[in-house]
């Protein structure tokens, strides 16, 4: 597969945008500007980037507690993300959600989630809608290895498969659910193998290789659009920061393990391979790096200058008000 230079640079840009934004959010958390939970996506950027590169605004993404990267890759502006974590009215959920409730249906970001599991079922439901309406849209669920042992995985994959729904399940297998190693919570840790048992297309890829993710997701999304049914991609990856900002990261994983994955950083590896191949120049990448730094700075200024939500609206929109 030859990928156009524009696409390569766009993949790089999205990964850098996620990384810089996450680093900023971690700083803001440490400074006390973010009052709620903050789970960063550092180390896993290739997954959201490679998948969302194939999605349109009218495709529906359902995400997790670790969803900043999904939101950014799906097209939520950094300002709307940062403002949401700052609790401002201009946040993508109007300050109602924070990190774990990022909604931007305008770009098909149908929510990060404070509950592990439901995203799998909801993406399946989006697939049901799209099939019923006979469109070529796709529902996508991102979820961790922790969700694989939840009933939602079993029920969602099964329904998507028996009804041939246009759904892509993306498992971000970072080998831990909080501090519980996946190998201690499942005898069979082959997520793709387990998924294949339901009868859908399933494959495992190197989740730190953005092109591997991009290629697998491209095939899966195309298949779903053409009525070929659901797929699962297991992306083997690693989060290099603690489970959440402010949490201890000691005990359950070794420094050697963390360092070995840092050495496989998806952004540096991609940049290096692009330069080695001569596909892009160092100047191309530096231009993007500089633009992203400015973009994230602007996002913080935007969020900081944004108004707080109006407390008199606190009970608005519980009901649609149509009946």
């Amino acid at each position: 597969m030859t990928i156009p230079k524009d696409t390569l640079l766009s993949l790089y840009r999205t990964m850098v945008r996620i990384r810089r934004c996450e680093e900023q959010l971690a700083r803001s958390y440490a400074a006390g500007t973010i009052t709620g939970a903050c789970h960063t996506y550092v180390g896993e950027e290739a997954v959201a980037t490679g998948v969302c590169a194939h999605l349109r605004d009218d495709d529906a993404v359902f995400s997790t507690h670790r969803g900043h990267g999904h939101a950014l890759a799906k097209g939520v502006p950094p300002g709307a993300l940062v403002a949401e974590l700052f609790g401002r009215a201009t946040g993508c959920s109007g300050g109602r959600g924070g990190s774990m409730h990022l909604f931007s249906p305008e770009v098909g970001m149908m929510g990060t989630s404070g509950i592990v599991g439901p995203c799998i079922l909801q993406a399946t439901g989006a697939g049901y809608s799209f099939q019923l309406k006979e469109t070529d849209q796709v529902g996508v669920a991102f979820f961790g290895d922790g969700a694989v042992n939840n009933g939602a995985f079993h029920e969602g994959l099964n329904m998507a498969t028996i009804w041939d729904l246009p759904v892509l399940f993306v498992c971000e297998n970072n080998m831990y659910a909080t501090e519980i190693a996946f190998k201690d919570s499942a005898r069979n840790t082959d997520v793709a193998g387990r998924a294949a048992g339901y009868g859908l297309h399933a494959e495992a890829v190197d989740g730190n290789d953005v092109l591997a993710v991009y290629e697998a997701a491209g095939a899966a999304v195309a298949r779903a659009r053409q009525g070929g049914g659901p797929s699962l991609i297991e992306c083997r990856t690693y989060r290099t920061r603690p489970h959440a900002e402010g949490m201890r990261d000691g005990g359950y994983r070794s420094q050697e393990e963390i360092d070995s994955w840092k050495a496989r950083d998806p952004i540096s590896a991609f940049a290096q391979s692009l330069l080695d191949d001569g596909a892009v120049t160092a100047a191309d990448l530096q231009t993007i790096d500089a633009a992203i730094v400015a973009e994230i700075q602007e996002a913080v200024v935007f969020a900081t200058d944004s108004p707080w939500p109006d407390a008199t609206t606190v009970a608005d929109h519980i009901y649609a008000g149509t009946v």
Binding site: A60, S93, P105, M110, G111, L121, Q122, G125, V323
Partner: protein, 327 residues
Amino acid sequence: MAAREINFTEAAREALAAAMTRDPTIFVLGEGIGIRGGNFNTTLGLFERFGPRRLRDTPICERGFVGLCTGAAMTGTRPVVDFMFIDFILDSVGELTNQIAKIQYMTGGRLKMPVLLRGCVGIGGGAATHHSGSYYPLFVNVPGFRVVVPTTPYDAKGLLSTALRCDDPVLFLEHKSLLNVRGEVPEEDYQIPFGQARLCRQGTGVTVVAIGPLVPKCLAVCDTLAAEGISVEVIDPRTLAPLDMDTILVSVRKTGKLLVADESFGPCGVGAEIAAQVMAQGFDDLAAPVRRLNGVHTPTPYSPPLEAAVVPSMDQVAAAVRDLAAE
């Protein structure tokens, strides 16, 4: 020409069929709701008209298909979950309370959540404890739900038609003992607004707010009580969320005495809520403390004498009204 009479289930089914004809985004999920037409005939004959995508028999995964419906409603379709017995809804409570009920709020109204959740509720026929629940106080307690408890075929059709136009999640709860009750129902489609109680019988001495099967039970003893000189006003709230407190308060202003009769449990139940609201807004109208008559706070036993012992009887309704009248 005599008005047409059909039963509760047939009336609700007419509303569903009309809505499915009008709105191609409506689909029904459930076990046995396809070719079979539903355990309670809720979808009888609809599979032939609307086909398998819109009348979808599911695996037995209540949590899963409720979660599926959440995502479907978020992306422009209008799912109907037919639980058969509402007891099975408990397997999906996380999807309901954490997801379905909250999506409109969390998106500031940018997404709607038009999901209809229906099922058979209540005690009767030796169904025993896994097929006899009502559970509506749970859902009334959660912001975001509409909770509908129709008691007549006319109301069943009109309220289901409204539910299928409503953009909020609606629980439509059909009591076992009412499914075969017949009544006059217009052929054409019509809607009954949520939050409007029905004044079933006018009276001056005691107000009874009766819920679900307690409505016919209460109406059945009113003539006897009238002969004793007790004039009873009977109100059927029809929807518990929203709850038409105005109609109740107006009645209490007239009678000064209120009994809430409900088969479901007392603690933190609908009667407790109505009593608290009447005390807050109509305390000076009360001539006696508000009374409640509820099913016994216990799992539902099987054996006929045990089952009968947990359900409020007509005699108990009459006795409670007499006590209140004598205060």
